[in-house]
Symmetry: C2
Subunit: 237 residues, 2 copies
DNA sequence: CTTTTTATGGCATCTAGTGCCAGAGTAAAG
DNA sequence: CTTTACTCTGGCACTAGATGCCATAAAAAG
């Protein structure tokens, strides 16, 4: 594969090595105590090139996230499946990206927990995903303009995704398959919440949503009796 | 009211004037193009005192937000009402704080939209509220540990709040009462979504959630027939 | 081999942010 | 009223992240 599209150039900065060196230095000496000069010296790259390539010290720690976001955004544009299924798969891409690179994502998680500034940065990243999901859902599901349902659905999805992700970050020993299973479970929950919200407004325009909570194992007849009682005899419902 | 507790001190930095001066400079010259020296000169305060009081250039723009967060956190600790009602009221405090200070919040919104770095900062602020709401709900509603429902509920709430808030920020001419009405409407929607989620897990432990979407006006009998068909004859449901 | 293109690396510079210390101003004690 | 104690301001020096400029090294195209 040819690089960026041009014709020549000096050998590029070895991105991966720089990131690993930076992560090591951040972990050993702390994020603020580590200077760009140290990272430059340690990774054999000039300070100037570090800034050119990564933009900022923080960006070294989150390198690759922009690319991942592009991948996710492209996936949404391709829209292979039904909308919710598509955004779930897109979120799964993010989760798998974390799972597949523990060498970076785990120490980064520890750093992010310790430094508010880095935490803010990570939060901002997830907000970008949320915004992208929200826009996609609003467009695909054709929710009423002015309605917050697409935002709420995207927010729930991100919250559920992050919940599962944090579970792994805190206890990375657990099997990746197990984590993915928990993710699917969480997405089922999101679907149960989001689907009625989205369809209730996006459909013919007069759909209603009925949500019933009942003790498990009461049987079909009893369930119907309770619902019938709950909706009263008011006629049209 | 006496200040911090000590005995003396030089007159304090006039916070409000500094903020207004900064907002004006940011708006006229751009955020990055404005230096702390300019703000210092323009507001008649030394550069050193600006940093001491606000911490950073960004913090001038978001001054008062920490105090607001403390107010909100305190409100949650007081917990006057039922949990969801309490978090709704807490969110309302935030909305009203924005509505009540358009002189700052409106130009800030324009700046935040233009500068990704400021946007990230604002996002981080809302994430703090979301985390506080989530913790509060998890504690109050006693959701199963490991379940993402409290996070999802808080995320939906924040999304709905921000939706209403952005609506006003984009069109600040509309009446504050109108905005608040939209807020209440949005919170109703959040309640319909969040309540079953939270209670389904916090109850006896085996509750199920049934969500049915149906065309409005079909009548009670037809509704029951459809639900009966949907849940099949599997016996226990 | 020469040209073109693209990336690196050194240098100067700008400015956000911090530690330090002197001094101003206020409130209480005598 | 004077002294004392305390707190906050403001100036100074300094660190380090970040950017523009320019020379130069290396790879691809001819």
């Amino acid at each position: 594969m040819e690089r960026s599209g041009g014709r020549g150039g000096q050998p590029r900065v070895p991105t991966r090595e720089v990131v690993l060196a930076a992560v090591r230095l951040f972990t050993e000496n702390g994020f603020e105590a580590t200077t760009m000069d140290q990272i430059a010296a340690d990774s054999g790259v000039s300070r100037r090139s570090l800034f050119r390539r990564f933009g900022s010290k923080e960006d070294i720690l989150f390198a690759g996230h922009d690319e991942l976001f592009s991948t996710v955004a492209g996936y949404l544009r391709a829209s292979p499946d039904e909308p919710l299924t598509t955004v779930f798969a897109a979120a799964r891409l993010v989760l798998q990206d974390y799972l597949g690179d523990p060498e970076v994502t785990l120490p980064r998680y520890r750093l992010v927990r310790a430094h508010p500034r880095l935490r803010d940065r990570e939060v901002a990243m997830t907000a970008r995903y949320q915004a992208a999901f929200s826009r996609y859902l609003a467009r695909q599901e054709g929710t009423e303009s002015g309605s917050p349902v697409a935002e709420m659905a995207a927010a729930s999805l991100i919250a559920a995704h992050n919940h599962v992700l944090r579970g792994w970050l805190r206890d990375p020993e657990q099997d990746g398959q197990e984590v993915l299973a928990r993710f699917e479970e969480a997405m089922d929950l999101v679907r149960r919440v989001a689907e009625p919200m989205l369809h209730a407004e996006g459909g013919p325009g007069n759909d209603r949503v009925l949500v019933a909570v009942y003790p498990g194992g009461i049987g079909r007849e009893e369930l119907l009796r309770r619902i019938g009682a709950a909706v009263q005899e008011s006629g049209r419902v």
